[in-house]
Assembly symmetry: C2
Homo-oligomer: 396 residues x 2
Amino acid sequence: MGTSGRRTVRDLRRGNQAMLLRALYFGGPASRNELSAETGLSAATVSTMTGDLLADDVIVEAGQVDSDGGRPRVLLKVNPAYGYAVGVDVGETQVKVELFDLEMNVRARAHYAVRSAKHDPELVARHILAGVDAVIAEGEVPAGRVLGVGVGVPGIVEPGADALVRAKTFGWEAVPLGALLRAGTPLPLHVDNGAKTMGQAELWFGSGRGTSEAIIMLVGSGVGGTVVTGGSIYRGAGKAAGEVGHLKIVAGGRACRCGARGCLEAYLGAEAILDRAGVVADSADEEAALARLLEEGSPVIGESVELLGVGLSSLVHLFNPERIVIGGWAGLMLGGRLLDDIRAATAANTQAQPFDPETVVLGRLGPDAVALGAATLVIEPLFGGTVSPESVPTIA
Amino acid sequence: MGTSGRRTVRDLRRGNQAMLLRALYFGGPASRNELSAETGLSAATVSTMTGDLLADDVIVEAGQVDSDGGRPRVLLKVNPAYGYAVGVDVGETQVKVELFDLEMNVRARAHYAVRSAKHDPELVARHILAGVDAVIAEGEVPAGRVLGVGVGVPGIVEPGADALVRAKTFGWEAVPLGALLRAGTPLPLHVDNGAKTMGQAELWFGSGRGTSEAIIMLVGSGVGGTVVTGGSIYRGAGKAAGEVGHLKIVAGGRACRCGARGCLEAYLGAEAILDRAGVVADSADEEAALARLLEEGSPVIGESVELLGVGLSSLVHLFNPERIVIGGWAGLMLGGRLLDDIRAATAANTQAQPFDPETVVLGRLGPDAVALGAATLVIEPLFGGTVSPESVPTIA
DNA sequence: GACCATAATCTAAGCTTCGAACAAAGTCAG
DNA sequence: CTGACTTTGTTCGAAGCTTAGATTATGGTC
């Protein structure tokens, strides 16, 4: 029983303001009148509130629209230059750092190659810090306008100020990435799993847009995912929820790199699919190799679709989502050709409840969305968050 | 992006009052001072608020406690006689109706035998309505003090005023139980899956108490369950979430009665376990037969434990709960002897994240808790709900 | 230019919570 | 038995918030 809920009358104001800002951010430019209808607040409140926000430069006017024979509506929108967010994608082969404005336009980029299979935590941290400085300089952003840094990493991120990261693929056991970065920058930090940051990108700007209960699968070399409940990412008690890659689909089945058996990831990432097909390919060739398999019509592909359907069926029964998004480069490759098969396989395994296959859709954002999603973690607090504040992994 | 959040200053009051009431209900008798500390509200607010609640008979004084050399604390508690709730358990062999006061003491009971394998919806509805009248009369409850009727049924309950029920075991395709009952009583109705009502009972009064993220497994003849997120039951987009019985554990495995293959329920309810062991038993003998199997040390039992561990591992990875409760008569029978084995099996399949086996515990409430849990649905609105109001399946 | 329609702002009223002063109800030392 | 002390609970004024309704702003139409 979480002791949540607004307490004082100023919390009320904050909450309503966040709601209004959210409506404006996701509902495009809108007039005060429309905002009033959208948020349920009275016109008077919207007026005073927008007045404050305009004075604070959080929002700006955005033209006018004729109104059927009356005073024209003044459109308002979020001021893209009010603040900037840095998004970082810590990947297998590179550290990618991008600077976004509030409208999520990229203002500057920096890349740092990382030699595969050798991910020294301190080196990664140095790359990130260097990248942050570089993009802020290149983007010519006024000091104090950078709202924070979001970092998407592989593996599981423990809650707490140290942001301990466990990533088997990197050989990271309990790397205090948060602490390492904290030593090098005063900016607010948000560290989270890369599949989750990408899921949030897809939720905000991609195929998940507008949904409140959704599953976003990220099928790349491995399998990750994001569970969305109540319009925001579900993180569970220890921020380790949503690990769809380790959903079991075959009791006692193939060994997974996590050490257990029968995980979805033991069958379904590009790595596992190629392994099952007996194809040897290092990570650089995976994409071409998988494409060839698909071209050849390998039976392993059909099996993979069936197994994905089994996994999705479990998710449908557990979460009853309104949408399932399949993303990640391998997921998009498979889904691009075989979406109907995936839908059919899911439906065939979902007999106990009504299920609409149309709810399974492809992602709209490419694999580059990890950094974008990481940046959204930075600006999410502006909108108050639909969930309790402590569930946002901030390190302030 | 749900447009949630308090709007006006009176909503604020309602929310704070609900929070206070919740603290009082679950925190036992408490003084105004303790409530102030518990809720974070100022002493002044607590004072005026408790004044109102006392005047409305929602709460009552409950004795005094000496305070270390000062004015004694006056204890307050929820008034058990403020309101009453009817809980209904629609089971395989009987319809059970119970009247509870606010402290969940049983004030009256009524039972109606139902011939197995012949569950006429209208007959069930008549039994329920008769039972409601009977227990209200027997309990001698003042008119207008009955807050509503909660009904726990098998299968999946669709949202909406009709409360369409789909229950394969009853042969119910789309029974509008809500509409049938609505025609016979003016009381507020709440219809939900029996596994969910029992889960809520276990969450409020049993082994799930105090947790905010939990899984409650109900292993009886079949397998059901409840997923708790943010302190309340997670229902998903169409109120069909949490169907752990149809989590897949063996792709292409045994046929489940739902029509799909490899569901947990195809391996794990008493029915499935006995079937796998080659034992023929009708539902009345299941309990004895399962006990015999356990006594004999049948290898099927060991397999079942292993498979349960696989299923629980999936749930841990997806939900990262702080507690997993195993309930239901078969679950308690297995867990009573083999809890350590279940824990070990779960841990063995959960390699990718830190997992404490101690979080798996046995339920504390018997199988009779379905009606109790159904009654909690009635009084839950008093506490404002941690979630948005529309997610509570009320038919008003 | 008078009149109408729509948008945005201003004003007064009604709630709410809070801090601080104040009242209540005990204990304890002498 | 009295007075000091401690702790609990209440009252009151202050500050903030949202709202309904009145008012002002800004355009078109006849």
